[in-house]
């Protein structure tokens, strides 16, 4: 009976490879995810890391040359023709020198649209430079009056960042892994639809079912063909991640990213049961549909569930022992712990894979029953 399995699998693979739509779908999700992340990171790095000059409008610069010099040393410069100022206005009053000499508070206005998030870091830099300058004047004044500057610093806050490079990487790279999981779900989708609802649409399903082939082998072979594409997409995305990040200067974000071959191998192995599960789930849905389009609609609704689960886990970092056992979440867990630099929980990996495979087998049984039912096959 095994020969029949391979016959059908080979035919479905040949069919899918010749179908440009299936091939493109499998490749594009795998390529698109890591690429998108790489671009996003590049933008992020530019934004966060570069100590660019802040150009501001300074009104009354002539009243406070020392302050302007100080701001310049903090790379906060007045706008010029070459570098126009941003929408941040700094107003130094006419009475600056006078007030300073009398030790009166000097009103300095920082005017900007505080709801605009993109200029937030610039505003912060302007404000903290002003605070720093004010602090140094205060210290001078106290020193002149014979008072130690320590008096006005009762607390000394020492900020120690405990985030390791690995855990910071996990935060960011978790998103990348979401793409790997998603490409498992999306790469095989077209093949699954084409070999079920497509078969029905082409009027070849009934004839195929009338062949001397045990239905469970038929279902298993079709699921395996779709899963081959799903696993291919997932593994391609996985292999592309280190390649893509060669071009992204992650170290500037303080992220240390390294994925060893052995890690990739383990993840690839973990993805295989997930690919089988995803494919049989898709077959289950699309064998009920009468046309390719109908199947696509149903599947996109059903696929929302695992995708939502992955995103929810990614954002909330919710943990529960049972999640290490379930399909999708257990694979997510393995991927996440491998990038967070946590040791691999071998028992959990085996349990998660075993449960995923068991559920896959149950679904094979369900789809087999479905295809033996006249109601589903003939739509009676």
């Amino acid at each position: 009976m095994k020969r029949v399995f391979f016959t059908i699998w080979r035919k479905e693979m040949l069919d899918a490879v010749r179908d440009r739509r299936s091939l493109m779908a499998a490749m594009s999700y795998a390529l698109f995810g890591p690429m998108l992340m790489a671009v996003a990171f590049m933008v992020l790095i530019k934004d966060v890391v570069s100590e660019r000059d802040v150009r501001v409008h300074i009104d009354g610069a002539e009243y406070a040359p020392a302050l302007v010099n100080f701001l310049e040393s903090r790379r906060i410069l007045p706008g010029s023709d070459e570098h126009p100022a941003q929408d941040i206005w700094l107003e130094i009053p006419e009475t600056y020198a006078e007030d300073l000499a009398r030790a009166k508070p000097i009103p300095i206005v920082v005017r900007a649209d505080y709801s605009e998030r993109s200029a937030q870091s610039q505003r912060n830099r302007v404000e903290s430079a002003l605070r720093e300058y004010g602090q140094s004047i205060a210290i001078h004044r106290l020193t002149l009056r014979g008072i130690s500057s320590e008096v006005i610093q009762p607390l000394q806050v020492d900020r120690q960042d405990t985030a390791t490079k690995g855990s910071r990487a996990a935060l960011v790279l978790g998103m990348v892994m979401v793409f790997v999981l998603m490409s498992v779900f999306f790469s095989g989708m077209n093949v699954a639809i084409d070999s079920s609802a497509g078969e029905r649409e082409r009027n070849s399903l009934e004839f195929l079912l009338a062949q001397p082939v045990a239905t469970h082998w038929l279902v298993a072979a079709k699921a395996t063909a779709a899963a081959s594409f799903a696993a291919f997409g997932g593994i391609l995305a996985l292999l592309l991640i280190p390649v893509v990040f060669l071009f992204v200067p992650l170290e500037k974000l303080g992220i240390d990213f390294a994925m060893s071959w052995s890690q990739q191998f383990v993840i690839a192995l973990v993805l295989i049961p997930l690919a089988l599960f995803a494919s049989i789930l898709q077959l289950f849905v699309s064998f009920r549909a009468k046309s390719f389009k109908e199947a696509q609609t149903y599947i996109s609704l059903v696929m929302f569930i695992p995708v939502a689960a992955i995103f929810a886990l990614e954002f909330t970092r919710f943990e529960h022992p049972i999640l290490k056992m379930l399909p999708v979440t257990s694979q997510h867990n393995v991927l996440f712990s491998s990038i967070a630099g946590q040791p691999l929980d071998v028992m959990a990996v085996i349990a998660g894979s075993a449960i995923t495979l068991a559920l896959t087998l149950v679904l094979v049984g369900v789809v087999t029953r479905m295809l033996r039912s006249e109601k589903v096959v003939f739509g009676l």
Binding site: R3, V4, T7, I8, K11, L14, D15, R18, D19, E199, R202, N203, S204, L205, E206, F207, L209, A210, Q211, P212, V213, A214, E374, V377, F378, L380
Partner: protein, 244 residues
């Protein structure tokens, strides 16, 4: 040999088969003739074992289709009602796929595919993908896939629908050849001329029951009509649903 005995099948409120019993013997072409909605397709589906009858049974070479569907399917070749081809495969690959599903492999498979391609004179289209095939070419592929494993029984569901003269001739010649080889051929149709011209034995069914059976001549004699068409109308008792 194909037999049905007291087949009953109801869908919701429609009684599709209502105690259908007939024989199709080896070395004969048996025509299943009936108006649209007479239950022909349901009958054939029960013979393939795709549908479980509410009562009665269908056998192929004395094997019950409901109990051993795989064993039955190994003994039949099917020319389906709607033949969807695998459009991304070439004709040769398509035929080979179904030959493999019937358990042929390696050299036996290659030889069987080659033989059927020669037999149906389709060498010129064998290595083209089936996507752009004409109706006649599609019919050849469907016929080839039905007989590639040399089944003892051949079942054709409305085979000449939409075929031109040449394709119909090919189909007929093949059926005559298979009859000479002593195989059992059952074909369903609602086109009377075709049945009258081809069949050794005609089963006229209406509303899921056999109304009459015999050779076309016998049926004419029985009703006292000169033409088979008039005999048919007389037998089914109405002119409704007949396509001339």
């Amino acid at each position: 040999m194909i037999k049905t005995d007291g087949l009953m099948k109801a869908y919701k409120d429609v009684q599709a088969l209502n105690g259908l019993s007939f024989h199709a013997e080896d070395g004969k072409i048996t025509g299943l003739l009936g108006p649209n909605g007479a239950g022909k397709t349901t009958c054939l589906r029960s013979i393939y074992g795709l549908i479980k009858a509410d009562a009665g049974f269908a056998t192929v070479d004395d094997i019950n289709a409901a109990d051993q569907p795989l064993e039955v399917r190994r003994r039949i070749g099917i020319f389906p009602d709607k033949f969807g081809l695998q459009e991304r495969l070439t004709a040769r690959e398509h035929i080979a796929y179904f030959a493999a599903l019937h358990g042929l492999h390696n050299d036996t498979l290659k030889a069987a595919v080659e033989r059927v391609i020669q037999e149906l004179d389709m060498a010129d289209i064998a290595d083209r993908r089936t996507a752009g095939f004409s109706q006649g070419q599609r019919m050849k592929v469907a016929l080839a896939q039905a007989i590639v494993h040399q089944p003892q029984n051949l079942i054709l569901d409305e085979p000449s629908r939409g075929l031109d003269v040449m394709s119909t001739r090919i189909l007929r010649q093949l059926m005559y050849r298979l009859r000479e080889q002593g195989r059992c051929i059952l074909f369903s149709s609602h086109v009377m001329q075709e049945v009258a011209a081809l069949c050794d034995h005609v089963v006229i069914m209406v509303k899921g029951q056999v109304k009459a059976e015999g050779t076309p001549q016998e049926l004419c004699d029985r009703t006292g009509k000169a033409s088979f068409e008039d005999a048919f109308v007389e037998l089914i008792g109405t002119e409704e649903g007949i396509m001339l």
